[in-house]
Amino acid sequence: MRVLYFAWVRERAGCAAEDVAPGAGVTTVSDLADFLAQLSPGHAAAFADRTRLRVAVNQEQAGFDSPVAANDEVAFFPPMTGG
């Protein structure tokens, strides 16, 4: 599974992208967030307040209850501030 981070989520996680293999128990974005949060103190900080996070699965906006599978690209980021 390819995981991407943007903006301050990227800064806290300490990386922009990583490949992870969280195992069969991870079937939703929420499960994945639980898994990622224990990778490092930086990851824990990135996922500390999920109300501040937005998610995309395969480059489409998704929610924490969205399903994820092994070959998905999952991105975590703050609410968008372009324009």
Partner: protein, 146 residues
């Protein structure tokens, strides 16, 4: 229909001129240019999600064409480090009449603000920098389109 994401500066005037060049079926062009404001801000760095950004912008533009009878449209958004006074974004919508053009241009901006994966980091004059928080008003502005 055209969507571009680029670090290079763009010439809003030339972009708009190109939109109508050689056309005789366009009666109305509404445009919006967003610029970096100075004052407390020394620079603004825009990060984006390559791939998803282009998809999101193309989807927003397609939705505008579904809602209004547009003859042409354009979204150009910059990424990277921008200085005060520099343009960040240009949207333009062209149609036969002015109401469709105005509404579509406002719609493009409202959706771009909430649905296109860009993030702004401000460098302040005192040397600190921070990610810009999303504004609740932007969600409200999008919601008015139903």
């Amino acid at each position: 229909m055209a969507v571009r994401v680029q670090s290079e500066a763009f010439d809003a005037a030339a972009e708009m001129a190109a939109l109508t060049a050689g056309r005789e079926d366009i009666g109305a062009v509404a445009s919006f240019t967003g610029l970096v404001r100075g004052g407390a801000i020394r620079a603004m760095t825009l990060e984006h999600y390559p791939g998803m950004t282009e998809r999101a912008l193309a989807a927003i533009e397609a939705e505008a064409h579904r809602r209004w009878p547009l003859k042409a449209s354009l979204i150009v958004h910059r990424v990277g480090r921008l200085l005060p006074g520099e343009p960040i974004v240009l949207v333009a919508a062209a149609s036969e009449g002015r109401h469709a053009a105005f509404e579509a241009a406002a719609f493009l901006m409202d959706y771009l603000k909430t649905d296109a994966p860009f993030w702004k980091c401000e460098e302040r004059a005192d040397g600190t920098s921070d990610w810009v928080d999303a504004r609740e008003a932007d969600g409200t502005a999008k919601a008015r389109w139903g």
